[in-house]
Amino acid sequence: MAQAVGTAHLETSTGLDNRKLLMWLFLGSECLFFGSLIAAYLLYRDRSVSGPHPGDLFDIPFTSVSAFVLLMSSVSMVLALAAIQRGNVRGMQIWLFTTAVLGLLFLSGQAFEFTEFNHEGLSLSTNLFGTTFFVLTGFHGAHVTIGVLILLSLFTVSLQGRIQQKNSLNVELAGLYWHFVDIVWIVIFTLVYLIQP
């Protein structure tokens, strides 16, 4: 997201845009980042020597709703891109804003969940579950937060009329990041919440 100034058409050796290539490389690299965190969670999932354990705390209906919210934010994100690629600035603005709001909704859900768990006696240092759970979901939350910031920045810039069909790439790149954060949650939702030992 380093560059908000658009680039219409580039002449590169592969014909592919530099920034888009960078974004995909970054996402490939992020796979290793979240892979490491998830591996640590899985390694320690049933090794906490004291409670509380996942089964005592998880509120599946609640988390399902927030997983659903994040999933739907992916839909609104792709609609924002579809709008601007067809030159519909207004539509893009609406969908970008919707996406950011859904992202914020997800984040408040996470904040609520963290607070609840804390009240029930789970902190970073309580046991291995607390350690791995908070660090994994916390890093995911940090990624969502950065995503929301990017979306809101794009939205603000677009209000000044600086996002047009010809530089829709900016929206596309933000979208790639956002969808990646979403698929990480798809994995976390299944491996952490639904499949418990």
Binding site: Q3, T7, L10, E11, T12, S13, T14, G15, L16, N18, R19, K20, L21, W24, L25, L27, G28, S29, E30, C31, L32, F34, G35, S36, I38, A39, L42, L43, Y44, R45, D46, I60, P61, S64, A67, F68, L71, M72, S74, V75, M77, V78, L79, A82, A83, Q85, G175, L176, H179, F180, D182, I183, I186, V187, F189, T190, L191, L194, I195, P197
Partner: protein
């Protein structure tokens, strides 16, 4: 911004590697809002099914396999349609898949050697 913008080729056509040249009008092949909405509904339904399976009280092994398959389906749908890998240049997929497969395989080996369990 890239340097490529102001590279002057001195009037010479850049010699691109044939198979690597991106399809200039790939945007046209992208699905429209309607199709995105349809995919969104499918994703929502799958999420519902996942939660349902969770409460169904299946045998644990079955539950695990079912959930993994469903989650992989959601994952692939988002990557292929929302992130356009289905329609985009192969190089992008290569970069992502390289990272993904690498992560999957090395951490499987780590968990196997250290004795982590999925089930």
């Amino acid at each position: 911004m890239t340097l490529a913008e102001y590279r002057r080729r001195g009037g010479v056509e850049p010699a691109r590697e044939e198979e690597n040249v991106a399809d200039a009008d790939h945007v046209e092949k992208h699905p429209g809002p309607l199709e995105y909405a349809q995919i969104g509904s499918i994703l929502a339904i799958i999420t519902g099914v996942e939660v349902a399976i969770y409460y169904l009280g299946l045998a644990h092994a079955l539950l695990v396999v079912g959930l993994l398959v469903l989650s992989a389906t959601k994952f692939s749908m988002v990557v292929l349609w929302f992130m356009h890998l289905k329609f985009d240049h192969r190089l992008f997929s290569t970069m992502f898949i390289l990272g993904f497969i690498l992560a999957l395989s090395i951490f499987t080996v780590v968990l196997a050697t250290v004795g982590g369990k999925l089930v």
